[in-house]
Amino acid sequence: MLQLAGHSFSSRLLLGSGKFASPELMQAAVTESGSQLVTLALKRLKPGEKSLDLVAPLQQAGVQLLPNTSGAANAREAVFAAELARELLQTNLLKLEIHPDPRYLMPDPEATLQAARQLVKLGFVVLPYCSPDPVLCLRLQEAGCAAVMPLGSAIGSNQGLQNRAMLEIIIEQAKVPVIVDAGIGQPSHACDALEMGASAVLVNTAIATAADPVRAAYAFKLAVAAGLAARQARCATPLRQASATSPVDALMAYLR
């Protein structure tokens, strides 16, 4: 079970709600994926425009909504967005996301850490999106975050787990769940992340922009389950070739 500050989730697949062709398609994909945590963003209301209520249908489907601070360019904006989101959803769960660079959407480590500290003090359950930097992840945990969400690769790039070595270290050192977020382009990437020991993955673009998003959601559901089962079965990891050294022979001879 994925444990996040008192909540338990059996699904290890989180979904982003953006980029779908229609709300109906988004809801169908969510249902097919078995996801229990879906992110939503905040936007200023356009006066006079009636917008669709996404909240009710998802909540009716038993999904926990996870507001994110996407759009915030600094800590102050992120904290502000968090408080608005809490008002709207009456939940303390929050995905903290600060990317001031509009080109690559890379998360700002300084602002994220600063905002995380403030938000934890304000009673939020903070899930910070961050670069796969092991020490940054440790600092975020020290600040009281309920999980860490290191990126696999740039948002929307579908490049998979580009920083495997870093993710392995983060997973090894983490005392909270590690949720790999961003860049997961194929179900095999998601499977890989779970096999590696990540607690969960968050997928958006790969499902939303697939030719058949509902089928893609199904594939991701299976992939995540397979990765988790592989981890639990303790399948062998790739063998590294050992080079022969005569000191070993010398020691064995001595011991005989």
């Binding site: 939503l40 200023r44 009636k50 408080e83």
Partner: protein
């Protein structure tokens, strides 16, 4: 209308004329009907329980937020 019975506020950064003793709750009702929104008044989040008792003042900056698909 006399000047005292209307005030100018900024609604989502757009200057808007409103009746003088309008409450936030009434404004939300007028602008967002039955949609779930969050309100920020002068850069501070205004909890829903205070909407009915908060009257808008001249030059107030009101921002209305909703949840959308994303992230």
């Amino acid at each position: 209308m006399s000047v005292e019975s209307t005030i100018a506020i900024f609604l989502n950064t757009v200057e808007t004329l409103l009746p003088a003793d309008m409450t936030v709750a009434a404004l939300v009702q007028a602008e967002a009907a039955d949609q779930p929104v969050a309100v920020a008044l002068n850069q501070q989040v205004l909890p829903k329980r205070l909407w009915a008792s908060t009257k808008l003042q001249r030059q107030d900056q009101v921002l209305l937020f909703q949840l959308v698909a994303g992230g």
